[in-house]
Symmetry: C2
Subunit: 190 residues, 2 copies
DNA sequence: CCAAAACGGAACCGATCAGTACCGTTCGCG
DNA sequence: CGCGAACGGTACTGATCGGTTCCGTTTTGG
């Protein structure tokens, strides 16, 4: 645990928010768990909402760095994003995607927290598209959106099944999709 | 609006819970919006948690009845579940799946609300499996889990994209999956 | 070394939370 | 008609919410 108050607040808030939900965690808990004084929180952040946004930005960067590291360690195959997810699903403290959870909790789609969460998902789509391009797959952008959809589906399924099985199923579906030849627009447009 | 207090409570609570989240809606709001007296709520339900469970059970039955009606109206093709979803995604008040949202909000996986939500999802899987069997698809159970995963992925994607496009993408992926021949176990087991 | 910044702790604020108790009224049914 | 159940409204409880203020201590850098 870092000794400066700001980092302790961010680390503690991230843990508690992910484990119990943003709304369920009062600033009181964050203060007692982190050992930070009440005034220090409001010296570093204008309010709880701003702490939430800071936590999400931090988690976005850490999550994407972690995913990129896992995938490159596994050889760079786009499908290995599902193997990385499976590792997360198996952890005892797994409770879904912090950003999906945030979008669900902050009902207002224009709220700062919701927007940061949506940005994260778009960055993941871009990352998957880059992986597909590097692997020589056509229609990288549209396919990336399909794979991101499978990732999110696997995540919410893993939450309720409490097993990593959905990662394998989503990976198999993605493999079938990539093998199903160049279907230009698997969706609505054109 | 029904004139008995219990039905008014359930209808009002369902609307508010879905639109703003369970934790965000206090009983005060439910009472003022529904016009029901405070005491009447606690005459019909031991507490807010029990009202939540009753609302979820009610919504589970209504949702599955609606889905079955739409699919059969569209000819009974399993893929038409995505067309039904697209109709929901297009509605202005669409805010994802009430049961996914509930599982996210009620972090404790053993809480009554979480369990009711998980039951709903399992019933949807069973329903999709039945559709696949009736259409003569092999491996109905495993394939149904993959399709349910695609449905949930489409739902959470639609929340952040704020367009029905993800329903079409998920449908296309499901079509590719069903056409990819009899792959016995697209996942972990066996 | 010493000043200034950073900090932890506690008291306090108004608002809101779920839940209880009691009131007088309205309604349905015999 | 009349009686009892169902009901809406109000006042209240103790707990908790996010946020403010002040004070004394610790830490840090010139």
């Amino acid at each position: 645990m870092p000794r400066n108050a700001r980092e302790r607040l961010l680390a503690t808030a991230e843990e508690l928010f992910y484990a119990e939900g943003i709304k369920s965690v009062g600033v009181e808990r964050i203060l007692t768990v982190s050992g930070v004084g009440r005034a220090s929180l409001y010296r570093h952040f204008p309010g709880k909402d701003d702490l939430v946004v800071a936590v999400l930005r931090r988690r976005d960067e850490n999550w994407r760095a972690w995913m990129a590291e896992r995938v490159s360690a596994l050889g760079g195959d786009p499908l290995s994003v599902f193997d990385a997810l499976a590792e997360r699903f198996a952890r005892a403290d797994f409770r879904g995607c912090a950003f999906i959870n945030t979008m669900v909790e902050s009902a207002d789609p224009d709220s700062p927290a919701h927007l940061v969460a949506a940005e994260h998902k778009e960055r993941v789509v871009s990352y998957v598209a880059r992986l597909l391009e590097e692997s020589g797959h056509p229609h990288a952008d549209e396919t990336a959106r399909a794979i991101a959809l499978l990732m999110d589906g696997a995540i919410v399924t893993a939450v309720r099944e409490r097993t990593p099985a959905s990662a394998g199923r989503a990976r198999a579906v993605a493999a079938a999709l990539l093998a199903s030849g160049p279907s230009p627009n698997p969706g609505t447009a054109d």
